[in-house]
């Protein structure tokens, strides 16, 4: 139970001082020193569901893709159909290896006819950028690592739009759209996206302006919330976490992300993914609820399969999680037995999202 020592080589976001002042517990995460919680995970989680939470997600990376072939290039590497993405739109997709394994899951924003911004997971950013750069050969496209140019805040919850809208020049963009707005005179890319299952916005900000925006949203009632609450919130609504529920060794169909995969576009990995879709995956990622106790990542399912995410749900007050199970066990209502550190506990495959309003 000793406190983890913080490596001085860890990167800090522009909001580090705000986190320290707010009493955050800071932990090493994907090379960053990040707030895992402030007052308490449960409180931050429930505040996000009830009013609004603000999350510093500046550790996430950004890649800018521009040029005449930008759309064709992204269509070649991203699983979703980029040609359906209008200017000012946001689209979820996965980045696949040739064999269909998932390199990362990403949101891409179309800022113009030939200009896109893609947000990467912090732990995958360098790997993703290297993949983008390698695959860009032969395309008339410029791929830039612009992670240092952006801080990112997520304001999530039923009051999130009201809180951000109160110091914005006019209405905020709808869900899955993005627009440049002036927030107290500062240019911010406001995106109607998030990772909590709540309405809200994600803000891509010049790092120098991030403390001002943080202070404004906190002053207007958003509760500072850490990575731990972000994790319990996303798990309640069945969103995938790369490194837990998504990995290079498994494909998007197994992960239940077939909706974000359009094989007809011919993206890298599409043939492998098509083969899995047509044959049917041998295993599937399911959500589950526990009868008692909490299963954790790595716990084995009796008879095959493994838990990839598990926690106590602050909203439901039961253990919940996600697991890869043999496909025949993936139907809703199937009883699972999970080996939780040597004790077999019962769980039930449940429909996503586990938490509904």
């Amino acid at each position: 139970m000793s406190a983890a020592s913080i490596d001085t080589a860890l990167k800090r976001t522009p909001l580090y001082d705000r986190h320290v002042a707010a009493g955050a517990k800071l932990v090493p995460f994907a090379g960053w020193e990040m707030p895992v919680q402030y007052e308490g995970v449960k409180q931050e989680h429930l505040a996000t569901r009830a009013t609004a939470g603000v999350f510093d997600v500046s550790h996430m990376g950004e890649i800018a893709t521009s040029g005449p072939d930008a759309e064709a290039f992204l269509q070649r590497i991203l699983s979703n159909d980029l040609t359906k993405l209008q200017t000012g739109g946001a689209q979820y997709s996965v980045l696949c290896r040739e064999d269909g394994g998932v390199i990362d899951d990403l949101f891409t924003y179309r800022l113009g006819a030939d200009a896109f911004l893609t947000v990467t997971n912090a732990a995958n950013h360098e790997k993703d950028f290297a993949w983008f750069a390698k695959q860009a050969e032969g395309f008339d496209v410029t791929v830039e690592d612009v992670a240092d140019q952006y801080a990112m805040l997520a304001v999530q919850g039923p009051q999130a739009r009201e809180i951000v809208g109160a110091f914005s020049d006019g209405p905020l963009p709808d869900r899955f759209t993005c627009r440049h707005k002036m927030l107290r005179g500062k240019n911010v890319l406001v995106c109607g996206t998030g990772y909590t299952g709540e309405d809200g916005v994600e803000l891509l900000i010049d790092p120098a302006d991030a403390p001002m925006v943080w202070d404004e949203v906190v002053r207007r009632g958003a509760v500072p919330a850490g990575l731990a609450a972000r994790d319990t919130l996303r798990l309640e609504v069945g969103y995938h976490l790369y490194g837990n529920d998504l990995m290079e060794e498994r494909g998007p169909i197994e992960a239940g992300l077939g909706w974000a995969v359009k094989e007809d576009t011919g993206f890298i990995g599409s043939e492998a993914v098509r083969a899995v879709r047509e044959a049917g995956p041998s295993e599937k990622l399911v959500a589950f609820t526990m009868a008692s106790g909490i299963a954790r990542q790595g716990n084995a399912i009796v008879g095959g399969g493994e838990v990839t995410s598990g926690t106590m749900s602050p909203s439901l007050e039961i253990g919940i999680g996600m697991a890869y199970v043999p496909s025949e066990k993936a139907t809703e209502g199937t009883e699972l037995e999970i080996d939780v550190r040597g004790r077999v506990r019962s769980a039930t495959v449940a429909k996503k999202p586990l938490y509904k309003k």
Binding site: M1, A3, K25, V36, Q37, G40, V41, K42, A228, D231, T232, G293, I294, R296, T311, M312, P314, G319, R341, R343
Partner: protein, 128 residues
């Protein structure tokens, strides 16, 4: 949550557990330091009444939102009672670690082990 405290009437094990000794029985729990390090406790997995525990070995698990931790027995013996109330209110381990957050009552098998435990001052010294 209350401030850090280490009641002087208790004895402590270096793995952040306490014992309240009453004749040949003792009540066990985890210390203020342990519950603070864990964060919000959301589940207590108790042992069965009648099972044996050994000093320095795990007899139960306590889970916070993100982590699971073993709870170590400060002394050896047989479990004669379990705090079943923690099933519904595991947060008592945070809110009242020396009171409603108690975990088990044990009939001691070797009262000689008591001499190996730390008093409050000696335990606190290990935390600094």
């Amino acid at each position: 949550m209350a401030d850090a405290s280490y009641p002087t009437e208790l004895l402590y094990h270096s793995e952040h557990d306490w014992a309240r000794i009453d004749g040949d029985t003792a009540v066990f729990g985890i210390t203020w330091y342990a519950q603070d390090a864990l964060g919000e406790v959301v589940f207590f997995d108790p042992p069965e009444v009648g099972s044996s525990v050994s000093a320095g070995e795990s007899y139960a698990e306590v889970e916070s939102v993100k982590a699971v931790s073993d709870v170590v027995a400060p002394l050896s013996g047989e479990i004669v009672e379990v705090n079943l109330g923690l099933g519904d209110t595991p947060e008592n381990i945070n809110n009242d670690p020396y009171g409603d957050g108690w975990m088990v009552k044990v009939k001691l098998s070797d009262e000689g082990e008591i001499a190996s435990l730390l008093d409050a001052a000696a335990y606190e010294a290990t935390l600094s």
